[in-house]
Amino acid sequence: MTPVHGSAGIDEKWAMDLMAYRDGELDSSRRNEIGRHILECGQCQSILRDFGKVGNLVREMADEDASRLAETPVWPRVRRALAPPAVERKAEPRSWWMPFPAFRWAFVLPAILLVFLGAILYDSTRRAPTPEGAVIVGLVESPDPVFLFQQRGSSVTVIWVFEPLPAPSTKEEARST
């Protein structure tokens, strides 16, 4: 049997084999060879003891540190983190009023009416001859458009009532107007 390390001391290759011996990573023949040597070599025993001590300290340190985390449940956190896209997907396809089509019109009709009234008001205000320096302060709902103007910087209110033109009786009259 060849000596496993010389009198000069332990080189890196040999120390790595010692480490592998401790970790149970050597084949049986090499393991036996090193095992026999260790029984007689104080230097190798010391290295093995130190490796063992280092391993124990690392484990104790890790156990102590991790003991604070042991009670923390992880799954609820992970489930919450995974959940948002699924919740959004669920909410997306159907609205609450979808099964009741009549409800839709309850929202859509007033919206159309509002747009329509807005368009009429806009058109009327554009066509109404506003007195100089006056601003429209109101519109009265009546068969004929009625506008309330107020002069800037004064308390005078002007009320304009627009009477519709009488409808032409014949096609000629309509053309002449």
Binding site: M19, V74, A81
Partner: protein
């Protein structure tokens, strides 16, 4: 992989959230211990654990049934922690405060350094500090290697699979870390 775990993985792959939840509960303590050992911070470790499970959930389709779920999960966790430690190192390097000091030198908000633990009873408080300081100064890949060996008791082959390196690299990293930690312990004596 034991039959129950295999069934849970199959169910989780088919969209069973509760099955995935059970896998989380079965594996979380080991994963938390490993990642806590790597980042040395409770909150950061829990964030990493959560991130690991989210990544695992999203890539369940890539999991091969023949392999061990724990090994696969550890690979995701270790890579996530290594990325995090690299980001932290880059931030520390670019910060005007300078590099982050070793854990042994800084006040420990969780009070870990104040508690009596077996290592301090046997080796004294300074041994624990010296070891933490030495471990903290290791590159992330080296830290992962020693923790996988000492905490998880994994073989060199398994460590190589998790860290995506050759067995020879695992051996040399382990040897480097153990030598450094041994020196750190000897220095404080």
């Amino acid at each position: 992989m034991d039959p129950e775990e295999r069934d849970l993985v199959r169910a989780a792959r088919n969209g069973d959230e509760e099955a995935f939840g059970r896998l989380v509960e079965r594996t979380q303590s080991r994963l938390a211990r490993l990642l806590r050992g790597m980042v040395r911070d409770d909150d950061e470790a829990m964030d990493l654990v959560q991130e690991t499970y989210i990544k695992a959930h999203r890539s369940l389709d890539t999991f091969r049934e023949g392999s061990a779920f724990g090994t696969w999960l550890h690979r995701i966790g270790v890579n996530t922690a290594i990325d995090q430690l690299r980001k932290r190192a880059a931030f520390a390097a670019s910060s005007i405060e300078g590099p982050a000091s070793a854990e042994g030198d800084t006040p420990d908000p969780a009070g870990a350094s104040e508690r009596p633990t077996p290592d301090r009873v046997l080796e004294g408080e300074e041994a624990g500090k010296a070891l933490r300081r030495a471990l903290n100064s290791m590159p992330p890949e080296h830290k992962a290697t020693i923790l996988l060996r000492e905490i998880e008791g994994l073989s060199y082959d398994e460590i190589a699979e998790i860290t995506g390196t050759a067995v020879g690299t695992v051996m040399s990293r382990l040897f480097y870390v153990r030598r450094k930690l041994r020196e750190a312990l000897r220095e404080h004596r």
